[in-house]
């Protein structure tokens, strides 16, 4: 299954190769569609392709590291 997310990296994680890590650790295909990095924040629009459980593990990994994971629509609770 394919799922789309926005990842927001805080300043201290911008240099970490986390996307490479989730691909390696959880066997998900990572497909970056858009990315912007400034001096204090990094934003990545990404598609994760894999088993549902593996995608969940990858998302947990990002969250544990301190990356904010959101649906591609960002905040939908208005």
């Amino acid at each position: 299954m394919k799922k789309r997310f926005y990842l927001t990296y805080p300043k201290e994680l911008i240099k970490e190769p986390l996307i490479y890590q989730v691909g390696k650790l959880y066997n998900v295909i990572t497909n970056i569609r858009q990315a912007t990095v400034s001096d204090n924040i990094g934003l990545v629009a990404i598609e994760l392709d894999g088993e549902s459980g593996d995608i969940e593990k990858a998302l947990n990994y990002f969250a544990e590291k301190g990356v904010k994971v959101e649906p591609i629509e960002l905040d939908v609770v208005e």
């Binding site: 569609r33 912007t36 904010k68 591609i72 960002l74 905040d75 609770v77």
Partner: protein, 417 residues
């Protein structure tokens, strides 16, 4: 007749057919409705619009529905009030209030976007309409769905205040309370929208839904006598409204319905949730998400979907972004009520509070026209004033007690005889 060509990605410009899509398959950018302005130009004029019924469908060529609206026939065309008392209090010459606190049927600007979204959803043949909301949007979806006999689902965080739940439940919607923190609730709603073939108004119908906000801007231009104010202050949650008001002004200019496009657009947020105004003040391109902590719950969106575009509008128009504390929000709610007899919700307190601040800072000059956008009704957020206003004059049921009270207050009124 349709005036919509299709959808277009706001980032990469890729075009899509007129379908319930909201994200670009290539760059994941948001999609926006793409109109045939040449065709619209031939269909509208000041005269044609002026003769139509006083509701937002008088601008129907510029709204993304193809047939007749299915719901919200009386939505919009809310009052634009010349606020002379408030102007005096703020020391400015020409001040207006665009008052969507009396919008139909659920007393907020959300009735505009929902009327468009549900009408479009029915054109797409959806059977169920849904939203994720903590307040105004929930009220409006539930009410408008009921009015057109459509089944609806409203998702809310499980710890939402009882008063807000009642204002939605009363319409007979399927209300689902979700346990979890904001991010978990948010992600689940997105997943539900992706899994079920429903019209999720602010997700898969969002490009159409958001266009409804433009009517707020068209009405201001028409009500000012087919011209624009020099300054407009707009509250920001997800940031969509401010971008659509600016779009409305630009469209009217493009169509020749107004002569000049000289409005400066200012965005207002609560200091406890100010990701967009912070970006504007810091000159940052990117919006840094925040964890909201403010009484202005209807503006408490920590990672606004349209934040980037909202900031761009402020920069492009020459406006600015500012935010105010909870204390300033309360003060401004009271000031508006005491000077103009309008009770606004906390978002209105934010907008007026920011207007005051911008005037004091000299960013908005005192001798030019200013419009303050009031987007919701104070009766919905009365808890924000709890403990702030108390009955200070209690007496026994005796005329002599009342006489004594007036005397204590040094107030003298002539008796009738």
């Amino acid at each position: 007749m349709s005036y919509v060509k299709g959808l277009k990605c706001r980032e990469c410009g890729k075009e899509y057919p007129k379908e319930p899509l909201h994200v670009c398959e290539y760059c994941f950018g948001p999609l926006e409705v793409n109109y045939d302005y040449e065709k619209i130009k031939r269909a509208v004029s000041r005269d044609i619009i002026s003769k139509r019924q006083p509701n937002m469908w008088r601008y129907r060529e510029l709204l993304p529905i193809d047939g007749e609206p299915a719901v919200g026939f009386d939505v919009g065309y809310t009052p634009l009030i010349r606020a002379k008392n408030l102007a005096k209090a703020l020391g400015v010459k020409e001040l207006y209030l665009k008052n969507d606190a009396v919008n139909y049927p659920t007393l907020s600007f959300k009735d505009r976007v929902v009327a468009v979204a549900i009408s479009k959803a029915l054109e797409f043949d959806f059977k169920v309409v849904a939203c994720a909301s903590t307040g105004n949007l929930a009220n409006s979806v539930a009410a408008n769905a009921a009015a057109c006999g459509m089944e609806s689902y409203v998702f809310i965080p499980y710890d939402l205040e009882q008063t807000k739940i009642l204002g939605t439940l009363v319409y007979g919607t399927n209300l689902v309370a979700i346990k979890g923190n904001y991010d978990e609730v948010n992600r689940l709603c997105s997943e539900i929208a992706g899994k079920y073939g429903w019209a999720f108004v602010n997700i898969n119908i969002r490009p159409y839904y958001a266009e409804g906000s433009k009517a707020f801007g068209y009405e201001i231009a028409e009500q000012m006598g087919w011209k624009l104010p020099k300054h407009i202050v707009v509250p920001m949650a997800g940031g969509s409204l401010i971008t659509k008001i600016w779009k409305a002004f630009k469209e009217f200019h493009k169509l020749g319905l107004i002569d000049n496009l000289g409005t400066k657009v200012y965005g207002a947020q609560a200091t406890g949730c100010a990701p967009i105004t912070t970006a504007v003040k810091e000159g940052a391109e990117l919006i840094k998400p925040v964890k909201p902590n403010t009484i202005a719950k209807s503006l408490a969106i920590g990672n606004p979907a349209d934040g980037f575009y909202a900031a761009r509008v402020m920069r492009e128009s020459g406006g600015w972004g500012e935010d105010v504390s909870d204390e300033e929000i309360i003060e401004s709610i009271r000031l508006l009520a005491e000077t103009e007899g309008i009770f606004t919700e906390t978002a209105g307190g934010v907008t007026l509070g920011v207007t005051r601040k911008l005037i004091e800072q000299g960013r908005i000059p005192r001798d030019e026209s200013i419009v303050v956008s009031i987007t919701g009704n104070g009766l919905k957020t009365q808890e924000a004033l709890a403990g702030r206003l108390t009955v200070s004059m209690t007496i026994d049921a005796k005329l002599s007690d009342f006489d004594e009270l007036l005397k204590k207050q040094n107030k003298v009124y002539d008796a009738k005889d």
